[in-house]
C-alpha cells in the first residue's frame, strides 16, 4: 500500500508519452478538496455525515469521456457523526461491521456522456459484502486546473444489511440514504 503512490508516480512518468495518445488518463485525487458523505433521516431528522477516509481512482480524459473508469474505496470505520461514541457504534456489527467489511467499494462498469458536463455512470456498489448494480448521473467541471466530479446516489440501507436487528425499524432510521460525493482530481 505504501508503495502505491511512488509506483504510480514512476509509472505515470514512464508512461507520459503513452498517456498523451491514450484515451483515458489516470488522475490524482486531491483529497483535501474531495468528500464523501451519507445523508440519512433519523426520526425524520436529516443528518449528513462524512466518511473521513476514502480513496478515489478516476481515469478520465475530457476528449474521450466514454473511456473513463472510476473506482472509489471508502473506509467504513471512518464515518464521522461528530460524536466519538456514535462513530464507534456505527462501525459495529449491526451497522457497517467494519471489522469484517472495512471497505465499501464502487467500481464503474460504464460511463457515458450525457450532454455537456454530464455523465451517466453505472457500476457495482459493494457495502458490507453485498453487491448491487447502481447507476447515477455525475457532473464534471474543470476547476482550478482540476476536474471536479460531483454526484449523489440514493440507496436503500437495508438492501446492504446496514442496520440489523432492532435497527431495521425504518421509523427510527429511514431506509433511503443518499450518498453524496465530490472528487477533485487532476494530472
Amino acid at each position: 500500500m505504501k508503495l502505491r503512490p511512488a509506483l504510480a508516480a514512476t509509472l505515470s512518468t514512464a508512461l507520459l508519452g503513452a498517456a498523451l495518445v491514450a484515451s483515458a488518463a489516470p488522475l490524482k485525487t486531491d483529497v483535501a478538496h474531495s468528500s464523501v458523505s451519507a445523508v440519512f433521516k433519523q426520526m425524520n431528522v436529516p443528518v449528513e455525515s462524512n466518511f473521513k477516509r476514502f480513496n478515489a481512482q478516476i481515469d478520465y480524459d475530457a476528449a474521450h469521456p466514454e473511456k473513463a473508469t472510476a473506482r472509489v474505496d471508502i473506509d467504513t470505520a471512518s464515518f464521522d457523526m461528530g460524536q466519538a461514541d456514535y462513530d464507534k457504534e456505527i462501525a459495529k456489527k449491526e451497522w457497517f461491521n467494519s471489522a469484517q467489511f472495512p471497505k465499501a467499494t464502487f467500481v464503474s462498469s460504464s460511463i457515458k456522456p450525457a450532454g455537456s458536463g454530464k455523465l451517466n455512470v453505472t457500476g457495482k456498489l459493494t457495502i458490507k459484502g453485498k453487491t448491487a448494480d447502481v447507476s447515477f448521473p455525475l457532473s464534471v467541471k474543470p476547476e482550478g486546473g482540476k476536474q471536479v466530479f460531483e454526484g449523489q446516489l440514493p440507496i436503500k440501507r437495508l438492501a446492504f444489511n446496514v442496520g440489523e436487528g432492532e435497527w431495521q425499524d425504518t421509523g427510527m432510521v429511514a431506509d433511503e440514504v443518499v450518498i453524496k460525493f465530490r472528487v477533485a482530481a487532476g494530472q
Binding site: 426520526m43 431528522v45 457523526m81 461528530g82 457504534e89
Partner: protein
C-alpha cells in the same frame, strides 16, 4: 355571608390570572419531565433506538418549553402579577424578584442552549417529527462540546433555583401562612 363573599373576591383579586397559572404549571411539569428525561437518556450507554427516541422527545419537550416561555413572558409583560403579602420584609421581596428574573431567564436560556447544542452536533430539530425548525448555525464539533457544558450547567443552576423557589413557596404556605403561594394555585371556589 357578605363578609365571606367579600373575602373570596379579595382572594380572587390576589391570584394570578388563570392564563398565568396554567402557563406556570405546564412549564413546571414540562421542565421536571424534560430535565429527568435528559438525565436518563444521557445515562444510556452506547446507541439504541430507545436512546435516540428519548433524545427526540427531549428536544420536542424543550422546544415546547421555549414556546410556552415566550407566551408566558408576553403575558407577564401585559398583566402585572398580584402584590406580594404586605408582611414580607424588603429583603425577601428583593430576593423573590431576583429569583423570578433568573427563572425567567433560564426558561429561555436552557432550551436555547440545548437547541444550539444539537444544531452544532449536526442534528437539527424536527418538531414532533413533522416540522423542521430553523438551522441557525452550521455543524461545529468544537462549539458542540462547549454548548454541551453550557447546557448541562445551566440545567444544574435551574435545578438549584427551582429548589429554592419551591422551598420558599412552601415556607410562605406552611410557616408564614401569608397566602403568597395561593396566588399561583387554582381557585378552589369553582
Amino acid at each position: 355571608m357578605r363578609d365571606q363573599q367579600h373575602q373570596e373576591q379579595e382572594q380572587d383579586q390576589e391570584r394570578y390570572t388563570t392564563t398565568a397559572i396554567v402557563l406556570h404549571w405546564l412549564i413546571a411539569v414540562l421542565i421536571v419531565g424534560t430535565f429527568t428525561l435528559g438525565l436518563v437518556m444521557t445515562d444510556i450507554p452506547g446507541f439504541s433506538p430507545t436512546k435516540l427516541r428519548y433524545f427526540s422527545w427531549h428536544k420536542w419537550a424543550g422546544v415546547t418549553v421555549l414556546l410556552l416561555a415566550a407566551l408566558r413572558l408576553l403575558w407577564r409583560l401585559k398583566k402585572r402579577p398580584p402584590a406580594l403579602p404586605a408582611s414580607m420584609p424588603a429583603w425577601q421581596r428583593g430576593a423573590a424578584h431576583g429569583l423570578h428574573h433568573l427563572l425567567y431567564l433560564l426558561i429561555f436560556a436552557v432550551p436555547l442552549s440545548g437547541y444550539f447544542y444539537t444544531l452544532a452536533t449536526g442534528f437539527p430539530v424536527v418538531y414532533f417529527g413533522l416540522f423542521q425548525l430553523p438551522v441557525l448555525i452550521a455543524k461545529d464539533p468544537a462549539l458542540a462540546e462547549t454548548l454541551k457544558g453550557v447546557h448541562y450547567w445551566l440545567n444544574m443552576l435551574l435545578a438549584a433555583l427551582v429548589a429554592v423557589h419551591v422551598l420558599a413557596a412552601l415556607k410562605h404556605q406552611l410557616i408564614d401562612r401569608d397566602g403568597a403561594m395561593r396566588r399561583m394555585l387554582p381557585s378552589r371556589s369553582h
